[in-house]
């Protein structure tokens, strides 16, 4: 039996013949998934990125170690420490910028959420290293020149590069303060972002100072290599954060085609353009969307695709959680859209098992809806659990039921308040719904509290952490 889907972006898969009674165990050919990109996307594995960053830090340490002169003199000890911490801080700033350069191979392999978390964690280390560098350098100079700390500070600041680096440090401190969770919650996104852009100026000011350091300035090749590292990161930033989005905007000419209600406070936005297939967006990925209309153009927000790309059309499903998302409901057809991406690693490439459990909470259904339709597999291989407070809060229900029927996939709506007496995400409840749960890959997407609770339950139910795939921006 085939099912007519109500949504234009859901095209039922090829009909499957009804099971024959005399051949109950015969394997059925799995439904044909939509055409995959012809050339696989490049992906840098998270482990490789970690190894690369650690190797770079090792190289920087080696650069210092080969040139440092052992001595028990106090000024030498201070200066040696200052140079090591300064080098590592300079390298750290470079890594932080690289993580946010939106290089596709890194974004698709590591995942934007992991990158953001590492960027946030690395920022704390870098600020610590800069503080240590400043204190050690000041003490070293004071001891070396037999001056008090204030005189030494004044003397150091008379050097243009050091004054520039001090200004850069002040900018980085401002970035750090505004990124602290308690402060960021009170700031508008645009304000936080404007302050964050100051980090680019800080990096440039710091770079000038680094070239004067004895470890870098000691040799022409070292200076050139250090400059090359900075120049490459700058080129990547300009290319992937400016050139690529502008080129994509001109090439694809994306515009809002339709806005439709999906449930209480939830709308789907259909965006159509030219050659959208060339964006090579995979189910489970997201774009950063900027709608060019009053009140929305200044901010680009990430929304996952809630359907595979079809007929040059992208679809996102958005829940009104703030001013910006509320305005999305009032978008008119024809509104120009700038989309950068695709980003994210919550895609089929993470799958390691035949059986897959998709576990969605609230509007977290959006990327999983796209995966539910497209993940390759036969009947019974894919299960979707959708947690929502009540039936009215379930979005895309008809589509999900149609996909489940077509693929013979299991679909369960787990309804009830999050503080109810029965927890449908408890390990036993999950095992009741999915008896061989430990044999599954789990894709998880939902509100942070739900995702944390579900992860803990899955772990207790025997699913290894490496097989729980989720994207979590809350801890970034």
């Amino acid at each position: 039996m085939t099912t007519e889907a109500s949504h234009p972006l859901y095209v039922p898969l090829a009909p499957l013949a009804a099971p024959r009674a005399e051949e109950p165990r015969r394997r059925r050919r799995p439904p044909v998934p939509p055409a995959a990109p012809p050339v696989p996307a490049l992906r840098l594995a998270p482990g490789r990125l970690r190894t690369g960053i650690a190797a770079g830090a090792g190289g920087v340490g080696l650069l210092w170690g080969l040139q440092a002169r052992p001595s028990a003199r106090l000024d030498v000890l201070f200066a040696s420490g200052a140079h090591l911490t300064g080098l590592l801080a300079g390298y750290g700033v470079l890594v932080l910028l690289l993580l946010m350069a939106r290089v596709p191979a890194v974004e698709h392999g590591v995942g934007a959420d992991r990158l953001a978390r590492r960027h946030a964690l690395g920022g704390r280390y870098v600020l610590g290293l800069i503080a240590a560098h400043g204190v050690l350098a000041l003490c070293g100079h004071a001891v070396h020149t037999h001056a008090d700390l204030f005189t030494a500070a004044g003397d150091l600041l008379s050097y243009g590069a050091i004054a520039a680096a001090t200004a850069g440090t002040a900018l980085l401190v401002a970035v750090g303060i505004t990124s602290a969770r308690s402060v960021r919650r009170r700031l508008r996104h645009e304000t936080w972002r404007a302050v964050h852009l100051g980090a680019l100026l800080a990096a440039a000011l710091g770079f000038v100072h680094q070239l004067a350091g004895p470890d870098i300035a000691g040799g022409l090749l070292t200076r050139w290599l250090w400059s090359l590292a900075h120049a490459l990161v700058a080129v990547l930033l300009v290319w992937y954060r400016i050139v690529v989005p502008v080129r994509a905007a001109l090439r694809h000419d994306l515009r809002v085609a339709e806005v439709r209600d999906e449930g209480p406070g939830v709308v789907s936005v259909l965006i159509r353009g030219r050659g959208v297939d060339h964006l090579r967006a995979e189910p489970g990925q997201f774009f950063r969307w900027r709608f060019l209309r009053r009140g929305l153009w200044a901010t680009a927000l990430p929304f996952s695709l809630s359907a595979p790309v079809r007929d040059d059309t992208l679809r996102i499903t958005v829940k009104a959680l703030g001013d910006h998302t509320r305005r999305v409901r009032r978008l008119r057809p024809g509104t120009r859209v700038l989309a950068t991406g695709p980003f994210g690693a919550l895609t089929a490439h993470r799958r390691t098992r035949r059986k897959v459990l998709l576990l969605a909470g609230g509007v977290g259904i959006t990327p999983l809806r796209a995966l539910f339709e497209t993940l390759p597999g036969g009947p019974g291989d894919v299960t979707l659990l959708y947690r929502a407070p009540d039936a009215a809060s379930v979005v895309l229900r008809e589509e999900l039921e149609a996909i489940a029927r077509e693929r013979r996939a299991a679909l369960h709506f787990l309804l009830g308040p999050s503080d109810g007496s029965f927890d449908p995400l408890a390990p036993r409840a999950l095992r009741n719904l999915v008896p061989d749960l430990a044999a599954h890959d789990v894709y998880l997407c939902g509100p942070p509290a739900m995702a944390r609770a579900a992860t803990a339950s899955l772990r207790r139910a025997g699913v290894p952490a490496a097989r729980i795939h989720s994207e979590d921006f809350d801890r970034a």
Binding site: G160, V208, H209, P214, S227, H230, T352
Partner: protein, 78 residues
């Protein structure tokens, strides 16, 4: 899902163009061109930076005299 180890092998009797010396796909060629372009631009920028940025710095106590920092800078300050 892992790709089978023999996924890139040329099937028996298949034309030789499917093997190692096959022409790169347009996407792969574009990727290589982009990487070369970005690297070249970076190298050019690095060369300019190396040649033009020579900031001053105080003498470094942990280095032999005369080796620290930019020569020009040291001469101008010491």
């Amino acid at each position: 899902m892992r790709r089978p180890a023999n996924a890139t092998r040329t099937p028996a009797g298949a034309p030789a163009t499917a093997g190692h010396g096959a022409p790169a796909s347009p996407v792969a060629r574009a990727r290589r061109l982009l990487a070369a372009g970005l690297l070249g631009t970076g190298a050019l920028a690095a060369t300019l930076l190396t040649a033009t940025v020579t900031p001053a710095a105080p003498p470094a106590p942990d280095r032999p005299p005369g080796t620290a920092s930019s020569d020009v800078a040291q001469l101008s300050r010491d």
